[in-house]
C-alpha cells in the first residue's frame, strides 16, 4: 500500500508544487500586474519536487498503482528495470533544481524587488520545471501506454518553456527547432503506438512489446517507434534540435535536457521495442550504422563549435550515438540483450549524471566558487575525463560493454566505438578550452547552492557504478591488463587535441572558415528544404486559389447574367396578359390532343 501511495505522491508532488505557485499568486491577488515586491518562487519547497521520486527509487520492493478511471485504465509501476532510471533521473533533477536556485538568483532578486518581466519569466520557469519533471517521472513509471504517452508529451511540451526561458532570438530559434522536431517525433510515436497497440489490442507496454514481436508488420511498427523516440534520443539526422536548444536554455535546464530528457527517448525504445526478440535484425543493422555515424559525426562537427554548451550538446549526440549502437547490437543479436541492457542502463546513468555535471560546470566556470583555481579546473576536468572513459564511472561503463562486445565477437564495433571515444576526448578538450577562454572573474561563496549542487553532481557522477541498483550482474572494474586497451583512445584524443591547439595558435585563418559552421548542422539544410517545399506548396495553393477564384468569378458572372435574365421575365407577362384568350383556346386544343391520345 505504502509504495503505491508513494508512487502517486511522486507524480502529484511536483504538480502540487507547480500549483502552489499559482495559488500563491492568486492569494496575493494581482501579484502579476502590480509593481512592487513579489513572493519568492524558487524556494526550498520548490527544490523538493523530485524528493518523493528519490524516496520511491530507494524504497525497497516493487510498487504498483492501478487506476480504473485514469485515461484508459492507469497502471503505474516501479520494478527493477525502472528503478535505476528513476533514481538517476530524480537525482539529477534534484541537483539541477538546487543549482537553478543559485543560477537564477539574480532574476529572483530582481523579481522579488519588483521587476515584472523578470518575475514573469521566473514564474514560467517555476511552473514548467515541475511540470517537465512530472512528465519525465511519469514516463518512467508508466506501464499503460496512454500514461506513458502523456508523460512523454507533457515533458516534451513543458520543456519548451524552459528552452525559451531567455526569450531572446537565439532562444526562440532553439525553441522552434526543439518544438518542430518534437512534434514530428510525437507524430511518429503516435502513429507507431496506434498501429502496434491496435494490432495487438493491448494497453500496457509489456504486452505491447510482446505484440510487436509477434505482429506481421512488427518491423515497420518498430521502425516508426524507433524513429519517433529517436528524435528525443538525438539519433543522427534527427538530432538537429539538440545543439540549437541546449546552449540557449538556462544551464540547469540544459543539464536536465541533456542528462535526463534525451534519455527519455532511450526509455521509449526500451519500453516499446521488442528488444531481445528476433525479427528486428535489418532495423538493427541500420541502427548500428546510424549510431556510429552519429557518434563520429557529432564529434567531428562538435569540435569546431565555439559555445561550450553547443560542444557539450554535440557530445551528447555522440554519446547517444554510442548507446544507439548498443541498442542496435541488441536488435541484431538478441541473445546478447540481457547483458546489453545492463550496459545500456549503466551507460545512460553514467552519461546522464556526467553530462549533467559538465553542464553545471559551464556555469561554474563562469562564476567560479571561492576555491583554489587549480582545484576548480581539476574538478571540471574530472567528469570530462570520465565521459571520455578514462576514469571512474566512464571507465567502468566502457569496460562493461567492451567486454560484452568482445565476448560476442563484435570486435570491429569496439574499434569504432573507441574511435568515437577519441572524438569524445577531443570534444571534452574543446569544451574545457572554450570554458577556460570564457571563464568568469567574479567569485561566489562555496556554500551557495550552485557550487554545492555542482560538487554533489560530480560526486554522484563519479560513483555511478557503486550505487546504481542494476538488475542483473553488477559491473566490475576492468582488470589492469585491459587498461591500455581502454585508455588509448583518451590518450590519442589528448594528443590530437594538443596538436590542434598548437595548429590553432599558429594560424587563425583556417578556423575562421570553420566558424561559419553553425550549431545545428543539418537544421539549416532542413530549414532551407522546408522553406522551399513550403513556397512550392504556397505556389500550388495560390494557383489553386486563383483558379478557384476565377471559377467563382465565372460562376458569379453567370449568376448575375441569370438573375438579369430572370429580371427580364416580366416582359413576357404582358404578352400573356394580352393573349389570355388565345392561350386559353390553345390550352383547350392541347388538352383535346392529350385526351385524344389517351
Amino acid at each position: 500500500m505504502m509504495p503505491s501511495l508513494l508512487l502517486a505522491v511522486t507524480l502529484l508532488w511536483p504538480l502540487g508544487l507547480a500549483l502552489r505557485n499559482v495559488l500563491l499568486l492568486v492569494v496575493e491577488n494581482g501579484a502579476l500586474g502590480r509593481p512592487g515586491p513579489r513572493p519568492a518562487l524558487l524556494d526550498y519547497w520548490w527544490i523538493s519536487a523530485p524528493m518523493p521520486a528519490l524516496l520511491l527509487a530507494l524504497w525497497p520492493g516493487e510498487a504498483q498503482l492501478l487506476m480504473e478511471g485514469w485515461l484508459l485504465g492507469g497502471n503505474w509501476q516501479l520494478d527493477d528495470g525502472r528503478r535505476p532510471w528513476l533514481l538517476f533521473s530524480a537525482l539529477l533533477w534534484g541537483l539541477a533544481g538546487l543549482y537553478a536556485r543559485g543560477y537564477l538568483i539574480v532574476e529572483q532578486q530582481a523579481a522579488e524587488s519588483g521587476d515584472g518581466d523578470a518575475f514573469r519569466r521566473l514564474l514560467g520557469f517555476a511552473l514548467l520545471w515541475p511540470l517537465t519533471l512530472a512528465g519525465n517521472l511519469l514516463l518512467i513509471v508508466a506501464e499503460d501506454i496512454p500514461s506513458f504517452y502523456l508523460g512523454f508529451a507533457l515533458m516534451t511540451f513543458a520543456a519548451y518553456g524552459l528552452v525559451v526561458h531567455a526569450s531572446n532570438r537565439d532562444a526562440h530559434l532553439g525553441g522552434r527547432a526543439y518544438l518542430i522536431m518534437a512534434v514530428l517525433g510525437e507524430g511518429l510515436i503516435l502513429g507507431g503506438l496506434l498501429w502496434s497497440a491496435g494490432t495487438a489490442q493491448v494497453l500496457t507496454l509489456t504486452e505491447l512489446r510482446a505484440g510487436i514481436a509477434t505482429a506481421e508488420q512488427g518491423a515497420w511498427m518498430a521502425t516508426l517507434l524507433w524513429l519517433g523516440f529517436g528524435v528525443k534520443a538525438g539519433v543522427i539526422g534527427l538530432h538537429v534540435w539538440l545543439p540549437l536548444a541546449h546552449p540557449v536554455a538556462p544551464t540547469p535546464a540544459s543539464a536536465v535536457l541533456s542528462g535526463v530528457m534525451i534519455k527519455a527517448g532511450l526509455v521509449g525504445w526500451l519500453s516499446t521495442l521488442p528488444l531481445g526478440a528476433t525479427g528486428l535484425e535489418p532495423l538493427g543493422r541500420l541502427v548500428i550504422v546510424l549510431g556510429l555515424t552519429g557518434a563520429l559525426g557529432a564529434a567531428l562537427y562538435g569540435v569546431i563549435q565555439r559555445h561550450p554548451k553547443a560542444v557539450l550538446a554535440y557530445s551528447s549526440v555522440s554519446q547517444m550515438g554510442m548507446i544507439t549502437t548498443l541498442v542496435g547490437v541488441g536488435m541484431v543479436s538478441p541473445p546478447l540483450w540481457p547483458g546489453l541492457l545492463v550496459a545500456i542502463t549503466l551507460f545512460a546513468a553514467h552519461h546522464g549524471l556526467t553530462k549533467g555535471a559538465l553542464f553545471l560546470g559551464v556555469g561554474i566556470s563562469e562564476h567560479p566558487p571561492r576555491l583554489p583555481g587549480w582545484l576548480v579546473w581539476l574538478l571540471l576536468m574530472l567528469p570530462a575525463l570520465s565521459l571520455a572513459g578514462a576514469v571512474t564511472s566512464g571507465l567502468a561503463t566502457k569496460w562493461t560493454f567492451k567486454e560484452l562486445l568482445y565476448d560476442a565477437g563484435h570486435g570491429a564495433l569496439v574499434t569504432w566505438l573507441s574511435v568515437a571515444a577519441v572524438g569524445t576526448t577531443l570534444l571534452m578538450s574543446r569544451a574545457l578550452w572554450r570554458q577556460w577562454q570564457e571563464r568568469g572573474r567574479y567569485r561566489i561563496p562555496l556554500h551557495a547552492p550552485m557550487p554545492l549542487a555542482w560538487l554533489a553532481s560530480i560526486v554522484a557522477a563519479s560513483s555511478v557504478p557503486l550505487w546504481l541498483p542494476l538488475a542483473g550482474r553488477h559491473p566490475n572494474w576492468p582488470p589492469l591488463a585491459e587498461w591500455p586497451g581502454l585508455l588509448w583512445p583518451v590518450s590519442l584524443g589528448l594528443v590530437v587535441a594538443a596538436l590542434m591547439l598548437l595548429a590553432t595558435l599558429r594560424s587563425k585563418r583556417r578556423w575562421r572558415r570553420a566558424q561559419r559552421l553553425l550549431p545545428g548542422d543539418l537544421w539549416w539544410w532542413y530549414a532551407q528544404l522546408a522553406s522551399r517545399l513550403l513556397s512550392l506548396l504556397n505556389d500550388l495553393a495560390e494557383a489553386g486559389e486563383s483558379r478557384g477564384s476565377r471559377l467563382r468569378g465565372r460562376l458569379q458572372k453567370w449568376e448575375t447574367r441569370a438573375t438579369a435574365t430572370i429580371s427580364e421575365l416580366p416582359r413576357f407577362e404582358r404578352s400573356f396578359r394580352r393573349l389570355a384568350v388565345p392561350l386559353m383556346v390553345g390550352v383547350a386544343l392541347v388538352l383535346l390532343m392529350g385526351l385524344w391520345l389517351g
Partner: protein, 487 residues
C-alpha cells in the same frame, strides 16, 4: 320540392344562407370592431357543426332539390366538410381582420359597404361549389363566385384596381363561357347534368373530349393556371388586403376543385392529358417562383407565389388520373392537404403582408430594411406562413409535399420530383429575399405604426394553423377517409 336522401336539409340551407345573411346585416351595420363579427360568424360555424354531426356518422349524403321539372343534386362528404370548414375559417378571419383595416388603412376611400355582402356571397357561392352534385349548381356557384370576386377586387376604386379588375372580369366571363359550352355539349350528348349519372353515362369520344377540353380550359383560366395566370398578380397588387387573402386562398381553389371533380368523373383514365395539366403545373411552379423572386413589391411576391403554389395542385391531376390506386390514394390526400395548407398559409401571409405594409408604410420589399429590429409580430406571422409555403417542416406544406413526393416517386414520375425540389428552392429564394431585407441592420430607422391587435391576431392565427396542421395532418385526412371523398 326536396327529396330527402340524406339528413336534415335545413342545416345545408343554413350553411349556405347564413353567410349571405350576415353579410347583408353587416352592410347595414358597418361593424367597427372584430368581436361582433367573430361572435356572429359562430352561427355558420355552428350550422357547419350540425352538418358534421350529420355526415360523419353516416358517410356521404345526397339531397335532390326539385324546382319544377329541374332537379338539382347536392351532396356532402368528408371532402366537402373539410372545404366548408376551410372556407368558413378563412372568411371569418378575413372578415374579422377587415374592420380595423378599413378604419385605419383605407379610411373614407372606396366603397366599404359592399365588402360585407360580397364576402357573404363569396362564402355562399364557394359553399355551393363544394356541395354541388350537378353541373348546373356548379355553374351557378362558379358564376356567383366569379362575379362576387370581381366585385370585391373593384372595391378600392383606383385606376389600377379598375383596369386590373376589368381584365379579370372579361377573362372570368370568357372562362365561364367556355365552361358553359362544355356543359352544353355534355348535356346535349347525354342529357343529364348530375355528376354521378354522368360518371356512368359518359363514354369516351370526341364529344366528351371536346367538352372536357373546353371546360378545363375555362376553369384553368379562372384558376390562374400557367400560362393563363396573367390576370392574377395585377389584381392582387391593388386589392384590399382581406380581399386578397380571401381570393388567393379560396377563389382560385374553387375552379381547381371543379376541374378536378369533373376530370375524375368524366375522364378518369386520361393519362396523357393529365400529364399535360401536370406539365402546366410544373411550369407554373417554376415561372411563378421566378417572378416572385424578382418582384419588387411585397404584395406581388405573395401573388406570384400563389401562381407557383397552384402549380403543385395541378401536379395532383397527373398523379390522380390514370395512376395505380395506391398512388392515387396518396396523391389524393396530398393534393387536398396542399390545398388546405396553401389556403391557410396564403391567407395568413396576405394578412401579415398587409400588416407589414401598414406598419412600415412601404409596399416595396426594400422598404422592409431593418424591420426585424423591432421584431414585429407581423414579420413572425409572415415567417410562419412562409415556412408552410416553402414546405419546410413541421408545416402542413411540408407534409403535403411529402405526400406528393411520395406519390410521384411511387408513380415513377421523376420530373415531378425535380419540379417539387425546384419549387421548394425557388420559394425559399423569394421568401428569404424578403427576410434578408428585414435583417439589414444599417438601414435608416423607419417610423413604425402600431398595428391594431386584431389585425395581428388573425394573421398569426392563420399562419399558426397552417404550421400546426402539418403535425396533425392526420385529422383532416381522417375526415377525408372517414366520410368518403371518393377518388
Amino acid at each position: 320540392m326536396i327529396e330527402r336522401l340524406g339528413g336534415d336539409f335545413s342545416v345545408v340551407l343554413l350553411v349556405l344562407g347564413l353567410p349571405v345573411l350576415l353579410g347583408g346585416l353587416a352592410a347595414c351595420w358597418q361593424p367597427r370592431r372584430s368581436w361582433p363579427i367573430v361572435a356572429f360568424s359562430l352561427l355558420p360555424l355552428l350550422a357547419l357543426a350540425g352538418l358534421f354531426y350529420q355526415v360523419l356518422p353516416q358517410g356521404e349524403q345526397t339531397w335532390l332539390i326539385e324546382l319544377g321539372s329541374l332537379t338539382l343534386q347536392w351532396r356532402a362528404n368528408g371532402l366537402t366538410l373539410l372545404l366548408l370548414l376551410l372556407t368558413q375559417v378563412i372568411t371569418l378571419s378575413s372578415a374579422a381582420y377587415a374592420p380595423a383595416y378599413l378604419m385605419e388603412e383605407i379610411g373614407r376611400e372606396g366603397k366599404q359597404v359592399w365588402l360585407w355582402p360580397l364576402q357573404g356571397v363569396l362564402a355562399t357561392s364557394l359553399s355551393l361549389i363544394w356541395l354541388a352534385g350537378d353541373l348546373l349548381t356548379l355553374y351557378i356557384g362558379l358564376e356567383l363566385m366569379g362575379l362576387a370576386a370581381v366585385g370585391l377586387m373593384l372595391l378600392p376604386g383606383r385606376v389600377d384596381a379598375l383596369a386590373a379588375g376589368m381584365r379579370y372580369l372579361l377573362l372570368a366571363l370568357v372562362g365561364s363561357l367556355a365552361f358553359l359550352l362544355g356543359v352544353a355539349l355534355l348535356l346535349g350528348a347525354w342529357g343529364r347534368l348530375d355528376l354521378a349519372g354522368l360518371a356512368l353515362a359518359a363514354e369516351p369520344g370526341m364529344v366528351l373530349w371536346v367538352a372536357v377540353a373546353l371546360l378545363s380550359a375555362g376553369l384553368l383560366l379562372k384558376a390562374a393556371a400557367f400560362p393563363l395566370h396573367a390576370w392574377l398578380a395585377p389584381v392582387h397588387g391593388s386589392a384590399w388586403t382581406p380581399v386578397s387573402a380571401l381570393h388567393a386562398s379560396l377563389v382560385v381553389k374553387g375552379s381547381f376543385f371543379i376541374a378536378l371533380q369533373l376530370w375524375l368523373v368524366l375522364v378518369p383514365e386520361a393519362r396523357v392529358a393529365a400529364w399535360l395539366v401536370g406539365g402546366l403545373g410544373g411550369a407554373a411552379v417554376i415561372w411563378g417562383g421566378l417572378l416572385a423572386w424578382r418582384a419588387a413589391k411585397l404584395k406581388d411576391v405573395v401573388a406570384w407565389s400563389t401562381v407557383s403554389q397552384l402549380g403543385y395542385l395541378l401536379l395532383g391531376f397527373s398523379l390522380l388520373i390514370g395512376t395505380a390506386p395506391q398512388v392515387a390514394e396518396v396523391a389524393w390526400e396530398g393534393t387536398w392537404l396542399q390545398l388546405a395548407a396553401h389556403s391557410l398559409a396564403k391567407a395568413g401571409m396576405f394578412l401579415a403582408t398587409g400588416n407589414l405594409i401598414y406598419s412600415t408604410g412601404e409596399s416595396h420589399v426594400r422598404g422592409l430594411a431593418g424591420a426585424s429590429r423591432r421584431m414585429p409580430l407581423s414579420l413572425l406571422s409572415f415567417g410562419i406562413a412562409a415556412i408552410s409555403l416553402i414546405g419546410l417542416p413541421p408545416s402542413a406544406g411540408f407534409t403535403a409535399k411529402w405526400l406528393l413526393l411520395h406519390a410521384s416517386l411511387a408513380a415513377g414520375y421523376w420530373p415531378w420530383m425535380a419540379v417539387l425540389a425546384l419549387g421548394t428552392l425557388l420559394s425559399a429564394a423569394y421568401i428569404f429575399r424578403v427576410f434578408r431585407y428585414s435583417f439589414v441592420e444599417d438601414a435608416e430607422p423607419l417610423d413604425y405604426r402600431r398595428v391594431p391587435w386584431s389585425m395581428e391576431l388573425f394573421a398569426l392565427m392563420l399562419a399558426l394553423a397552417s404550421l400546426l396542421l402539418g403535425l396533425v395532418a392526420e385529422w383532416p385526412l381522417m375526415l377525408l377517409r372517414a366520410a368518403g371523398g371518393g377518388s
